[in-house]
Every structure is written in structure tokens, then in C-alpha cells.
């Protein structure tokens, strides 16, 4: 029971103001991740600024056909929203594959993006962890790494970002609106999260008083298909070993637009640009022969993979999951 201050944010600007000037501050949204961390001693904020009642809980359809999702929209509500189900199946599926019904009823859009790694050592105060306590070392390296990164890791941290929703949003070219002490700015979702480098304690480019207010999804052109495929250790209620969000538009037998993001493989939702480059402009006809180019694309992306002692299986698993996701999208019958 570590004492902390609790402030109910009066409005959006007031939330940022309330969070400014403290050593340890955290916004409280659904609390499904933050409160766990406070109980474990992983997080010990001096002040909690409760943003759960701010008027950021709307999903708006934009004139250009895109979607603006408020930061406190609950994961369940977002997954059930008709526009999401109709236009962005990849996002609906990603949301529904995450956590459990009860957790999704609490979890918010902003909180989901900023949830922290599930690395077991990060959660165990008795073990060194550079992300929790900079400079103490990384216990995962040389330890249990089944859930850890194969792409973009560093010698300081090999953790993965656990969100499913963020992977779908990365593939959808989402834009994140942030309100900070110096005003409003928009950050592409793929640039929100960082690679660990030598500062693994910094998950994102945000500062503690930066408030996410919304996520915007650009419209998808007619004929675009999308899906989310998640591989995990049990049928439900488990984090991804590997997941793939894929968005594909094939016209006249040629790939016109393709966007792929991988989950469970890196410190951030991993946008697979190299795979996209291989695919863009390639002929695709929905037949099994397509698998060849899909595999080449996946392998191009995974050429840079550096698996750890306990997660080498993620390389073929990621490859196969990319191939099967693209097959699912390219085949007429699915």
C-alpha cells in the first residue's frame, strides 16, 4: 500500500495540466494494466490522473470515410462498432482476439496502445530488468525467452509489445492524436512505439504528461480486404506468440496495395515494409501458386530476424502465418 494522489481529470486540457510537473504520474484509463503494475510494485506513480470519464469515448465516422476513435473508447465497444466491423475487419478481429470479455469491457484504446510488455522478468521485482530499472541488466537474455522478440531487439532488452489492437492499427496506417503541454500533435502509429536500443525504459516517444486523445484510421479504398491472424499457446485468453495484420487490395490480378504488420515479434508493432515491397505489383490470382511470392515476401522480412535461445520457432511460425494470412485474403472463398 504505497500512498498516491488521485485526481479526476475535469476535462481534456485539465488532464494534461494535472499531469504536468510531477516526478511520477500516470493516466488511469481502464486500469487493467496500470493497476496490476501498481500491485506488483512495477509502477509506483505519485499521482494518478483519472481520464476514464473524459468525453473521449466516441467513435466518429469522418467525411473522408475514415474513422476517429476516442482514447477512452472501450475495446469491446470498438470491436462491436458497425463501421469497424464493416470497414476494418482486421481491427475488429484483433480486438476480439485479445484478453477476455471482462478485460475488454474495461480496456481503452489509449491504454491498450500504452500497455507494457508481458516479459516475466519485467514483472518480477527481484530480477534485474533494464526496462523497469535502467542499467540493472536484462534477465531475459539467457533466460526464458519464449515470448520475446526476434526483430529489432537490442542487447539491452528483447521484450515484445503485447497489444493485438496496435498491430491492426499499424497495418491500417493509423494516426495518433496527442495533447501535450506544448499543444496538439499527430504521430503515425508506427512511430509511436520505439525500438529498445539502449533506452528500453522508454516504450514510446511520449512523455508522461502526453495524453492520447484519439486514433484516426484513414479510409480503405474500395476492394480492400483485411484480416488478423493470431497464433497463441491456447485457443483464447493468451498473448500472441506471433500475429499478423494484413491489408490487401488486388486489382486485375496485381497487388495494388498491401500493408502487413506483425505482433509478438518486436518491441513495437512491426510494420513489414520489406515484405510489402516484394508484394507490391506482384501478380496474384488466388491460386496456390501465390504462396511462392507470399513466402518470398515473408522471408525477405524475416531475413533480419535474430531469434534468441528460446524462440527460434517464431521465425518459421511468423513466415507461415504471413503466408496463410495473405492466402486468406487473396483467395476468393477465404
Amino acid at each position: 500500500m504505497i500512498p498516491f494522489d488521485y485526481r479526476l481529470a475535469p476535462d481534456v486540457d485539465g488532464a494534461v495540466a494535472a499531469a504536468t510537473g510531477w516526478g511520477g504520474v500516470a493516466f488511469l484509463a481502464g486500469g487493467t494494466n496500470l493497476v496490476d503494475h501498481m500491485k506488483l510494485g512495477v509502477a509506483a506513480p505519485e499521482v494518478l490522473v483519472d481520464i476514464s470519464r473524459l468525453p473521449l469515448d466516441a467513435v466518429e465516422e469522418l467525411p473522408d470515410g475514415g474513422l476517429r476513435i476516442g482514447a477512452t473508447v472501450r475495446n469491446s465497444d470498438l470491436a462491436a462498432h458497425p463501421a469497424v466491423r464493416r470497414d476494418y475487419p482486421v481491427l475488429a478481429r484483433a480486438l476480439l482476439s485479445g484478453a477476455s470479455g471482462q478485460v475488454r469491457n474495461l480496456a481503452t484504446t489509449g491504454g491498450n496502445l500504452l500497455q507494457r510488455t508481458r516479459c516475466a522478468y519485467f514483472q518480477d521485482l527481484s530480477t534485474p530488468c533494464n526496462k523497469r530499472e535502467p542499467g540493472t541488466g536484462c534477465s531475459a537474455i539467457g533466460g526464458y525467452t519464449r515470448q520475446h522478440a526476434i526483430l529489432g531487439a537490442s542487447a539491452h532488452c528483447v521484450a515484445t509489445h503485447p497489444s493485438d489492437m496496435a498491430v491492426a492499427m499499424a497495418a491500417l496506417d493509423a494516426q495518433v492524436t496527442v495533447l501535450g503541454t506544448s499543444g496538439r500533435r499527430v504521430i503515425p502509429l508506427v512511430e509511436l512505439h520505439r525500438l529498445p536500443g539502449d533506452e528500453p525504459h522508454r516504450d514510446t516517444v511520449l512523455s508522461p504528461s502526453d495524453l492520447i486523445t484519439a486514433v484516426e484510421l484513414p479510409p480503405l479504398p474500395e476492394g480492400t480486404r483485411s484480416l488478423y491472424r493470431k497464433v497463441r499457446d491456447r485457443a483464447s485468453y493468451a498473448f500472441a506468440l506471433v500475429s499478423v495484420a494484413a491489408v490487401l487490395r488486388v486489382e486485375d490480378g496485381v497487388v495494388r496495395d498491401v500493408r502487413i504488420a506483425l505482433g509478438g515479434v518486436a518491441h513495437k508493432p512491426w510494420r513489414a515494409r520489406r515484405a510489402e515491397d516484394v508484394l507490391r505489383g506482384s501478380p496474384v490470382d488466388g491460386s496456390p501458386a501465390d504462396e511462392e511470392v507470399f513466402r518470398r515476401a515473408a522471408e525477405a522480412e524475416l531475413a533480419g530476424a535474430a531469434p534468441l535461445a528460446g524462440n527460434g520457432f517464431k521465425v518459421p511460425l511468423a513466415r507461415n502465418t504471413v503466408v496463410s494470412a495473405l492466402r486468406g485474403l487473396s483467395r476468393e472463398e477465404r
Binding site: G41, R234, A235, S236, N320
Partner: protein
């Protein structure tokens, strides 16, 4: 007759409404809260404990370390806080005591412990040269060497399985209150009588001075059978501080101080004739032991009891590691059973004999180790009933022969088997002057349905409706009865409950026939029929209600009876269908059928629930469940239900449970045998066998995670 019927749980309503009071629900006036500080090294010594910051927390009454903790000994377990030695990661190194649980926890987080650590050994692979054979762990029947020489076909394979933790939904809790040298403990206990004995001996007080209560349990699975050191320490603290004390473990704490299923490696060698008859069965195993105990809990009983084989050799080796002491966990025989039932499947392919047929050819009515005849055994019926319900005869034996889209479909089976305890037990039944019935016995309902089954037994014996009977359990003030472990509750206690109820019936009937005021006066007592709360004349022309007889008598009628029963062996056969997607290495279990010989089935609902629960656990065991130790620190990496994966609903198909339902003639429990631990034992092997049938790939290391099948 209600016995056998799928009667709803009589305690269901109390449980779902919160009326049922569990140990952690007990709050006593003036009570203190203890909280454990767990060590973070696995081997070495505590060099200092700084409690200053902890003591400064408001509400903190005391902080105990090895320097000032109450001195206690235990003949069963290593007792922490008696010295500086550390034997495993997560050992208790201090206890804070405060007036609220929050204060105690905060103080615990502020205790600073320093250590002189040494390098631990965490897994069997770290200590292969230190494997040894503890006393009395080797059994040889016949001449296994000659048996192997006589074999026309042999299979030798190695199998392995990880440690597991019990993870009952209810965490361990203990509340101790002293009154002079009388102790009352509310304890999450699978055996109040055993617990009473342990507390009494720890505090050197007469057993009658100790009362232990455990009316409800949220599962135990063997992890709540012993009284663990933390409960003794909590009681000692309550005594020293002169106030009641409560301690509730966190989920994470349950991964180091309340035992687990040991890491296990085994080698099974089968020798057989071409027709499938076994000529030799050699089962070598190695299980993890601790620095402070060489007790073994994963026994190769299946290899010694299940199949007709003249030459058997089981050798149960151990290796001491810097890990906590293991203990019984639901179906302790399943670890070795997995090896045996997988090896038989491998043999069936080598011989080209159907796996069910191979088992039928090695069926025995006689215990192959002792030569004694089983009192009753309907395992052949189980194979037939299970195979028919599953449609086994349609199986194409060729591995990889069935594909559905991306998935390979496979069918596998295994025998299920576990022996069960039977311990002498006693029970009281009393009919009050208003005709209502109370039965008390100091056994437990650990969630399996004891309350319900005993209600049925008493109601049937007396001939009264179920709602006229109340059963009370889990209190040492009641007549002593069995530990609820080793599948032994029903087998041990039913006979005593039934005998006491029958004695009460006899006494009440006597009251009626001997009293001129009764319409039944003068009839021979043995001809009276009792049913629906009434006593009838044989031709049913005359009757009187129990209520009327008792009202006239004006006083309760009571009997306490005792009974012993024989141990037994319940068997069955389980059949599963899996679908394997090789792209992800993913296995789904899509069908499950189990057929069982459990003697007489007392309640088809509660027995069926044991099958569903066991099968579900078996799926988890096969596909995901395992405790991960960091090999460098021997520390559990996944001490919570978010990372220690168990099967969830989406992993579990509909499960069909079939019972032969023939009473065991020697069982004093109305023909019932113990059953709880049988329906899980074969599931991991059946799933592995089905994976082989689906894909042609044999995985011998549990669990069958996706990485192993990619």
C-alpha cells in the same frame, strides 16, 4: 432411491450466493494479519535482514525473521525461519504482522534481505550425474531380462514432463485463534483430522485441544492435504502475540511453499510377442527431489498393476535439486502413466495391431505384481463402450491419412487408471424430534460433491426426502474421518454414513412398532418399509411418518458408526480426436469420450463432473500447462494464471462420460470405488497418440506446444 441419480449439488446455492464461508472469510475480533516475505535465491544463506523500515509502517506489530521467529519443528516438512539456510527460491525469509492486511503487505515489501548466494541446480538436466535410487523404490516381478530376450518386438523410448502447480482457485488461507492452550484453526485443508494431529504435535498439546475447520474448499488437488509450515508459523505467531492471526497466500506465493508435481523423466521398454502379448515391461523413472526431502510422489503403479505381463521392473529414481519439495498432485500416477500409454501406442504401430486391441490382449483380472484377483474389473467393457460411442471402428490406422482443409485429423486413445485410498472413518447421524436429519463427519467436500452424495446416502438409508437431510463436514468436532485425497472420500466414508443412518432407521422403526399409539404397533420391525419420510406396513395399508414417530418420542435418535473399506483401482478408456494445423503447429482437441469402471456411480452428475474436469485438465497438461523455472536462479518465471496456462473453455470440446456402473462387491461404500483421479491419467497420452495418428509425428516431451510441431 436417489443414489445414482444426477442430484444437483446441495451446496450449490450457498456457494453461488456467497453464503458458504471459506477459511479466508473468517474475521475475528482483534485479529492480526500475517504476510510472508519470500526469498529470492535458491541456494545459500541469509546474511542479514533489515526490518527497520518495515517496523516503521503504521500498524505493524512485529516482524519475524530467522532471528526471532517462534521455534518450531515439523516431522513432515523443512521448517523455514529456523536458521539462515536457503534451500529453494521463494522460501519464507520473514513474516510481517500488522493490524490490516495492507499494512502487513506494505511492511513485507520494505523488508531488506541480503544473501550469500550459491549456484543452484534447477532442473534434472543440471544434475544427471547425481541421479540415485532411494530406498524401497525398485520392484522386480519375474525375470525382466529373460522377458526381453523372449520378446519378438521391443520398444524403448524416453519421455519427459515438466513440473506442475496445483493452482486451486481458492488460495491457501489459515486463521488461528488461541484460548489458553486450546487452538482453533480455520484452514484450507483437505484433511481436518490430519491437520489437527499436525497442529497438536507442533505445539505439544493434546489433539483434543485443537479444533480445525474446513467446511468448504475451493479445490485442493492434493496441495491442501498437509499442513504447510506457513500455517504452523501463523498459529505460533497468534500464540506469541496473544491475538488471532490470519494469513492468506497470494497466487505467486503458492508457487513455492505449497508443493507441486515434480519434473519427471522416464524410459519405458516394452517387449512383446508378435501377437501383442507383453513379455516384459521395464519402467525407469527419475523425478526431482529437494534438498530437504527424498519423498516421491510420481509412482509407476500403472506399470505394476494395469496389464498382464509376467516380467515387470519399475525403478523410481530421484535427483536432489535446489527446488521446493514436491508432493501429490491430482492423479500422481499420471506422469508415469503418460510414458506407459504412449509406449503402448508406439508398440501398436510396430506390431500393426490396433491400440485398443493391443490393450485388450494384455487385459488382466489379476494384479500382475501381487497375483491377487481384482475384486471387480470391467475394463474390457470400458474399451467396448468407449470405442463404440466414439466410432473407433471407422479409424484408418495409417498416420496422416485424414485431412480436412489445412488440418490433419487424428484419433488416439489410452487406458485411464488410478488406485484410490480407503481409510477408516466414522460418521454420526441424528434424527431430531421434528424428524429432520443431521449427519456429521470430519471428512471434507473439496468441491467434488461430498455434501450431495452423503445427503443422498442418508436419505436413501432412512427413506426420507433429500430436503429433510442436512450434512455437515470439515470440523474436527465431528466423528473422525478420512483425508479427502487419493480419491478416497467417498470410498472411505460412505460406509460409515450409511451404517449410522441405517442404525437410526432401525431405532426409529423400533420406536414405532413397539408403541401401541403407532398404527404400525406390533408389526415385525424387519418388515417395515421406509420411503418418502414414512414408515409403511409391508402391504402399505398402514403408515406413520417419521415426524409423527419422533414427535411422540420427544427426543432425538442418534448413532455414530465406523467403517473400513478396501483400497481399489478404478479404470477406464479415453478416446480423443485432434486436429493439427502444421502451419502453426497448433493442436485442437475436437472430441472426447471416456468410459469408466468406478464401481457403483453414486451421482452421475458429480461423477460426470470429475470426468469433464479431468479431461479438461488433461488437455491443458497435454498442450500447454507447465511451470517454467529459470535455470540460472531456480526461480519460477510464470507464477500467475496469466502465464501458467491452463485450458480455457475454447480449448475444450464436448466430453462424453460413460459409466459401466457395476457395484464393486467388496466395497463397503455401497459398491462405489474411488474415482476422482482416474479420468485424467490417460488424456495426455491419448492426445499425443492422436497427434501421431494425425501427422506421423511422435512428441515425447510434454506439453505438446506449437514449436514442437511446426
Amino acid at each position: 432411491m436417489t443414489v445414482g441419480q444426477p442430484v444437483e449439488r446441495v451446496d450449490g446455492r450457498a456457494k453461488v450466493t456467497g453464503d458458504a464461508r471459506y477459511a479466508a472469510d473468517r474475521t475475528l475480533p482483534g485479529m492480526l494479519y500475517s504476510y510472508l516475505v519470500m526469498g529470492t535465491i535458491a541456494r545459500g544463506r541469509v546474511t542479514s535482514v533489515d526490518t527497520a523500515a518495515a517496523r516503521a509502517v503504521p500498524g505493524v506489530v512485529e516482524v519475524f525473521t530467522h532471528e526471532n521467529a517462534p521455534r518450531l519443528t515439523s516431522d513432515q516438512h523443512f521448517m523455514p525461519l529456523q536458521g539462515t539456510q536457503i534451500h529453494y527460491n521463494g522460501q519464507i525469509v520473514a513474516i510481517t504482522v500488522a493490524t490490516t492486511p495492507e499494512q502487513a503487505q506494505e511492511a513485507a515489501e520494505l523488508v531488506r534481505v541480503t544473501y550469500a548466494p550459491e549456484t543452484p541446480k534447477a532442473v534434472i538436466a543440471d544434475a544427471l550425474t547425481e541421479v540415485y535410487l532411494p530406498a524401497n523404490q525398485e520392484v522386480i516381478v519375474g525375470d525382466p531380462t529373460a522377458g526381453l530376450a523372449a520378446a519378438e518386438v521391443t520398444v524403448t523410448q524416453n519421455y519427459s514432463s515438466p513440473p506442475h502447480h496445483h493452482n486451486p482457485i481458492e488460495p491457501h488461507a489459515t486463521v488461528a485463534q488461541w484460548d489458553g492452550d486450546h487452538l482453533t484453526v480455520h484452514e484450507t485443508s483437505q484433511g481436518v483430522v490430519n491437520a489437527q494431529r499436525t497442529f497438536a504435535s507442533a505445539f505439544a498439546i493434546p489433539q483434543t485441544n485443537v479444533r480445525v475447520l474446513a467446511p468448504y474448499l475451493g479445490g485442493g488437488f492434493g496441495g491442501k492435504s498437509p499442513v504447510w509450515p506457513h500455517s504452523l508459523l501463523n498459529a505460533a505467531i497468534a500464540r506469541q502475540l496473544g491475538r488471532p492471526a490470519k494469513m492468506v497466500l497470494t497466487r505467486a506465493q503458492m508457487y513455492s511453499i505449497v508443493s507441486h508435481r515434480a519434473e519427471f523423466r522416464q524410459q519405458v521398454t516394452l517387449g512383446a510377442k508378435r501377437d501383442g502379448t507383453l513379455t516384459a515391461l521395464v519402467h525407469l523413472s527419475t523425478q526431482q527431489l529437494s534438498r530437504t526431502s527424498e519423498n516421491m510422489y510420481s509412482h509407476s503403479i500403472s506399470s505394476r498393476m494395469l496389464y498382464a505381463c509376467p516380467n515387470i521392473h519399475t525403478r523410481q529414481q530421484g535427483v536432489r535439486l535446489d527446488v521446493p519439495t514436491s508432493r501429490f498432485m491430482r492423479s500422481p500416477q499420471m506422469a508415469s502413466h503418460f510414458g506407459l500409454e504412449t509406449a503402448l501406442d508406439e508398440l501398436s504401430y510396430q506390431l500393426g495391431i490396433d491400440p485398443v486391441e493391443l490393450r485388450r490382449r494384455n487385459y488382466t483380472d489379476v494384479n500382475p505384481t501381487t497375483g491377487e484377483r481384482f475384486s471387480s474389473r470391467f475394463l474390457l467393457d470400458c474399451y467396448k463402450l468407449g470405442a463404440d460411442a466414439f466410432g473407433w471402428s471407422r479409424r484408418n490406422p495409417k498416420p496422416g491419412s485424414t485431412r480436412d482443409g489445412h488440418e490433419f485429423v487424428g484419433w488416439g486413445m489410452a487406458t485411464e487408471a488410478h488406485d484410490h485410498n480407503a481409510n477408516p472413518s466414522s460418521a454420526m447421524v441424528r434424527m431430531a424430534a421434528d424428524g429432520t436429519v443431521l449427519s456429521q463427519t470430519a471428512t471434507q467436500d473439496i468441491g467434488t460433491g461430498t455434501y450431495t452424495v452423503f445427503t443422498q446416502v442418508v436419505a436413501d438409508a432412512l427413506g426420507v426426502p433429500l430436503n429433510q437431510v442436512k450434512v455437515e463436514l470439515g470440523d474436527t468436532n465431528f466423528p473422525p474421518a478420512a483425508l479427502s485425497a487419493g480419491s478416497g472420500t467417498i470410498a472411505s466414508v460412505t460406509g460409515a454414513v450409511n451404517a449410522a443412518a441405517l442404525a437410526v432407521r432401525t431405532a426409529v422403526v423400533q420406536l414405532a412398532v413397539s408403541n401401541p399409539a403407532s398404527p404400525l404397533h406390533g408389526l415385525p420391525a424387519e418388515q417395515i418399509i421406509t420411503q418418502h419420510g414414512y414408515l409403511f406396513s409391508p402391504d402399505r395399508s398402514r403408515r406413520e411418518s417419521y415426524r409423527a414417530v419422533m414427535a411422540r418420542h420427544g427426543a432425538p435418535v442418534q448413532n455414530t458408526s465406523s467403517m473400513t473399506n478396501a483400497r481399489g483401482y478404478s479404470t477406464g478408456a479415453v478416446f480423443v480426436e485432434v486436429r493439427v494445423d502444421p502451419r502453426y503447429g497448433r493442436v485442437r482437441v475436437t472430441r472426447g469420450v471416456g468410459a469408466y469402471d468406478a464401481g457403483r456411480v453414486m451421482n452421475h452428475k458429480t461423477a460426470g463432473s470429475q470426468v469433464i474436469g479431468g479431461f479438461t485438465w488433461g488437455i491443458g497438461n497435454a498442450l500447454m500447462e507447465h511451470t517454467v523455472l529459470d535455470r540460472r536462479t531456480a526461480r519460477v518465471v510464470n507464477p500467475n494464471l496469466s502465464t501458467y496456462l491452463l485450458a480455457v473453455n475454447a480449448d475444450v470440446p464436448d466430453i462424453q462420460a460413460i459409466f459401466v456402473n457395476k457395484p464393486d462387491p467388496v466395497s463397503t461404500a455401497l459398491g462405489a470405488r474411488g474415482f476422482g483421479e482416474t479420468p485424467i491419467t490417460g488424456v495426455p497420452a491419448a492426445i499425443g497418440n492422436a497427434i501421431f495418428h494425425a501427422t506421423g509425428r511422435r512428441i515425447r516431451d510434454l506439453p505438446f506446444t506449437q514449436d514442437k510441431l511446426l
